[in-house]
């Protein structure tokens, strides 16, 4: 184990690593079902690859980008047709109205041009607060936040490279509890459905 683990957690991992008792007939039961199944072959698999429906998981941003790309191709082809004879293929003259953009940059997420990002959280009852994210390997000790003079607000400013960063706040209460909190002022990250979602910040123009 390369990472430093809490001794309790390490003990749990060590115990969980012990082999489990397995019913010796289990493999026989698998093989009984396998013998009834259709035999696999590479040829059938190749054919299945062409005809099998499949789903393509896309994030909303990629989906919007694809849609914008398709619209762009349509507009480009439309211009090509108009340029050829000044008429569309049906021969009817038509004015192409300019299309509004699919989404403005404000719609997509927070875009901040500067690479120094200030994280702020109001947590008046916290004993200490830290920001964790992919930029610090989710290490709660790496980026502690400072309590402002007014008392209830915590903040830290850090330099981030351009790109999309997922983050959350780790709030330690005075009674020893630890809570992961999303940024209430930022968009939520879609990839984590664990009850305490993370937030997203996009840094610089390259992330859009």
């Amino acid at each position: 184990m390369t990472d430093q683990l809490d001794p309790y957690v390490e003990w749990i991992a060590r115990e969980a690593k012990r082999p489990v008792a397995v019913d010796p007939m289990a493999v026989e039961r698998v093989m009984a079902r396998v013998r009834l199944a259709e035999r696999p072959s590479r040829r059938a698999a190749r054919w299945r690859w062409f005809v099998e429906p499949r789903s393509l998981p896309l994030s909303p941003i990629v989906g919007a980008a694809l849609a914008a790309g398709l619209v762009g191709i349509g507009v480009f082809l439309g211009h090509l047709n108009i340029d050829r004879g000044g008429q569309n293929p049906t021969g009817r003259s038509e004015t192409v109205a300019p299309r509004p953009p699919l989404a403005s940059s404000r719609d997509t997420s927070i875009i901040r041009d500067t690479s120094v990002i200030k994280f702020v959280l109001v947590a008046p009852h916290a004993a200490n607060v830290a920001v964790v994210g992919d930029f610090n390997n989710w290490d709660a000790k790496a980026t502690p936040m400072t309590r402002t003079k007014t008392g209830g607000t915590w903040s830290v400013a850090i330099q981030l490279p351009p790109g999309r960063h997922v983050y959350a706040f780790v709030v330690n209460g005075a009674n020893g509890t630890t809570q992961w909190v999303a940024d209430p002022t930022a968009p939520l990250a879609p990839e984590d459905g664990l009850g305490a979602p993370n937030s997203v910040v996009l840094v610089g123009g390259s992330a859009s």
Binding site: M1, E15, V22, R39
Partner: protein, 192 residues
């Protein structure tokens, strides 16, 4: 002395796996029993720890090995067979966990784990086993899955990403959260 061809230095189990897969694809169904035998125990450990229930774990294992057999024609030898099999197992465990989400959660007990098991199996304190399974069961499934893959199966984050479809960053976050919650729950259970 001639230099061995590229890729010659490979783990023995990889070459065994590839040979067995080839035999199965050539029509030797019994060769599949060797693959099942080779990986059943390790897969069983993950499934039991993940699902916390021996019956559900066996369902997951049966459907994993059956699906792997049916899909064997699509297996590419450049991939490790174990990683390919684990990807199927992780998905089966997720499906079964989702199906039983409405059922009452059952904590696994050592007695249940040892049901039908031969006497020669290693014996250790059932209390520790039960405690470990309890704290694992109380984790969110995605956190439990990430923790088991990282610290029990000892996969790298890149391997975990290939298995689960999640990003490395998300997986690191899940492992971190799992460790935090395990520590909190362990301390609570210990103090009860």
């Amino acid at each position: 002395m001639t230099r061995p061809p590229r890729g010659w230095v490979i783990a023995k189990d990889m070459s065994d796996d590839a040979a067995d897969v080839q035999r199965v694809l050539s029509g030797d169904v019994d060769a599949y029993a060797k693959l099942v035998d080779r990986y059943y125990d390790r897969c069983a450990r993950f499934a039991i720890r993940m699902l916390g229930n021996r019956d559900d774990a066996e369902d997951a294992l049966q459907s994993t090995f059956l699906r792997a057999y049916r899909a064997l024609g699509r297996y590419q030898e450049r991939d490790r067979f174990s990683a390919w099999l684990y990807r199927i197992l992780v998905n089966q465990c997720r499906s079964i966990a989702a199906r039983r989400a409405h059922r009452e959660r059952v904590f696994v007990r050592e007695e249940a784990l040892l049901l039908n098991a031969p006497d020669k199996r290693p014996a250790w304190s059932g209390e520790d086993e039960e405690l470990v399974q309890r704290v694992l069961n109380e984790l969110d499934p995605l956190l439990r899955e990430a923790f088991l893959l990282k610290y029990v199966e000892e996969l790298s984050y890149e391997e975990m990403a290939a298995l689960t479809g999640a990003g490395v960053s998300a997986l690191k976050m899940r492992v971190k959260r799992a460790c935090d919650r395990l520590r909190e729950r362990w301390e609570r259970i210990r103090d009860d």
